[in-house]
């Protein structure tokens, strides 16, 4: 019974969304839909605007997480493996962007984007998304590096491998799980980003959350639910894949999604 209740509480959001998404002509006061159909999904997946939004969201999130990993890697390595004067302040400087509300950053960036001609472009949105994703990437990777043993690299070096070779055959392999988790977090933050996309994209680049947000104001529960479920799929998969990692490190990443 207790277990059943836990499962119910756990699945309630998904079940509710599913109920509405699969319904047709379901009006008050019917307690359950009279007709079940997956029309909402097929309609959405045949709608070029929605399809484009999904592709845009995926593409943006992918590029943003890749860029975050590349830009953040050296800093994360230095922070995770070394002690240096002023480390605390570096940490603080990277931490600050995670707490300043996206609203303030987004409004400022939107003015900046207008001035530089980046408003409404994907490049502008990518740059805007990097502000919240980069710090999380650096934090996650720094944590991974803190448990990383550089001696593997020295061993390879002593055996005559070149630095490039070491990076690709030793470092990347040892770090693969950590890099994956950091990348997935960045992906998640970018994927869920509404405000920065709206402010910098100015409504010209429609991502899934932007579409969902305007759908909610519009008000058809079936469409809203179906869109929500599409929007929800990657986060659920990513959290499931990284659950073990999250379980050990309660992470304030969720405040970003």
């Amino acid at each position: 019974m207790k277990r059943f209740l836990i499962w119910l509480a756990l699945l309630a959001p998904l079940l509710t969304l599913g109920l509405f998404a699969l319904s047709k002509g379901w009006f008050y006061p019917e307690p359950f839909p009279a007709q079940w159909t997956s029309q909402a999904f097929s309609r959405l997946l045949n709608d070029s605007r929605t399809l484009k939004a999904i592709l845009d969201s995926l593409l943006l999130a992918f590029i943003v997480s890749l860029l975050s990993l590349i830009i953040g890697y050296p800093a994360a390595r230095e922070i995770g493996l070394r002690d240096f004067p002023g480390k605390k302040y570096v940490w603080l400087a990277i931490f600050l962007p995670t707490v300043i509300p996206p609203l303030a950053i987004g409004m400022g960036l939107s003015i900046l984007a207008l001035q530089t001609g980046l408003a409404g472009t994907r490049l502008g949105i990518i740059l805007a998304h990097i502000v919240p994703t980069l710090p999380y990437t650096v934090f996650t990777l720094a944590g991974v590096f803190a448990r990383y043993d550089e001696n593997y690299e020295y061993q390879a070096l002593a055996l005559g491998a070149s630095p490039t070779r070491i990076f690709f055959t030793v470092t990347l392999r040892l770090l693969a799980p950590g890099l994956a988790v950091a990348g997935l977090f960045a992906f998640l933050i970018s994927w869920s980003q509404y405000l920065l996309t709206l402010l910098v994209g100015g409504g010209r680049v429609l991502t899934l959350p932007v579409l969902l947000f305007s759908a909610v104001s519009g008000g058809n529960p079936t469409t809203i639910s179906a869109l929500s479920l599409l929007f929800l799929a990657p986060p659920v998969l990513i959290i499931a894949a990284t659950a073990r990692f999250l379980g050990e490190n309660p992470n304030d990443i969720h405040e970003r999604i």
């Binding site: 707490v99 001035q115 502000v131 959350p209």
Partner: protein, 286 residues
């Protein structure tokens, strides 16, 4: 002592990107809040926007104090209720096996705030799922009989949405501490004669304080500065500060834009103060 060149080089990409993007956005924001509006050729800096806000005048300024009160109300209520619920939930779960409920709590974190808001909306509107079921059970006769729980003046829907998201977060935060540290201490306390309530009050509470206090401050800061949930589940009046800020920022009345930007910066400043305070506290307590 100065950091080595190599350290600086490695930190450079991250720091440069963040500094440029963040610095530029804050500078532009600040300039606009001070009336620097190139679109209308306004280049004189002034404090009109801030004065309007404080004195309750102007397009957005009229609502400033009401919005501030509303924002404080939803942030405080959500944070306190989350913290208390999380504390009891974590105490309950502490003695149970690890895997399942950690998964359960993480599962919840996977839901973006936006989707959680949609769920609350579908569930609790006057013609929502619960209203339909209540009608089917004969508890109500028409949608108007169902209490207004979302898009209500008191922000109940907003608070409920945040509870759904923040309770699992804070619970995980507390559990991480309890599960690694509490067992021996609780055992010793019981062994020395403490009953269940004394163990909670004298051991669990001081033990989780270093996680609970900064965690709650972080939650407060986040809610205080967040736009999506109050925008989706709120009413036109009173509006939360971030909603007021954004809507003023995109207002065709250009004067309102400066005020919107000013509100947003004030919110950011408050949030920053809270977080710095939380971090300092965290560091102090080790």
């Amino acid at each position: 002592m100065k950091p080595s060149t190599r350290t600086l080089l490695r930190l450079a990409p991250t720091l440069a990107v963040l500094t440029i993007l963040l610095g530029a956005s804050l500078l532009y924001g600040l300039a606009q809040s001070l009336g620097y509006l190139t679109i209308i050729g306004e280049k004189e800096l002034n404090l009109t926007a801030y004065i309007n806000l404080i004195s309750g005048q102007g397009t957005a300024g009229r609502e400033f104090w009401v919005s501030l009160g509303f924002s404080l109300w939803i942030s405080l209520a959500s944070t306190l209720l989350s913290a208390i619920s999380a504390l009891f939930l974590a105490t309950l779960l502490n003695r149970r096996p690890f895997n399942f409920d950690t998964f359960a709590l993480n599962w919840n974190l996977a839901f973006p705030h936006l989707v959680w808001g949609v769920f609350i909306l579908l569930l609790l509107t006057q013609s929502g799922l619960l209203a339909r079921w209540a009608d089917a059970l004969g508890l109500i006769d028409a949608p108007v009989d169902f209490p207004i729980l979302v898009r209500d003046r008191y922000g109940i829907g907003i608070i409920l949405t945040y509870l759904g998201k923040e309770i699992p977060f804070l619970t995980l935060l507390i559990l991480a501490l309890l599960r690694t540290q509490s067992e021996g201490y609780l055992l010793v306390a019981e062994n020395l004669g403490a009953n269940a309530w004394q163990r909670f009050r004298l051991i669990t509470l001081p033990l989780v304080r270093p996680a609970l206090v900064p965690g709650s401050l972080l939650v407060f800061a986040y809610i205080f500065g967040a736009y999506e949930v109050p925008a989706l589940l709120g009413v036109r009046y009173p509006r939360a500060l971030p909603v007021l800020a954004l809507e003023s920022f995109t207002n065709p009345d250009l004067r309102a834009r400066s005020e919107g930007m000013a509100i947003s910066l004030i919110v950011a400043f408050v949030v920053l103060l809270i977080v710095v305070f939380a971090r300092a506290k965290e560091e102090l307590q080790g």
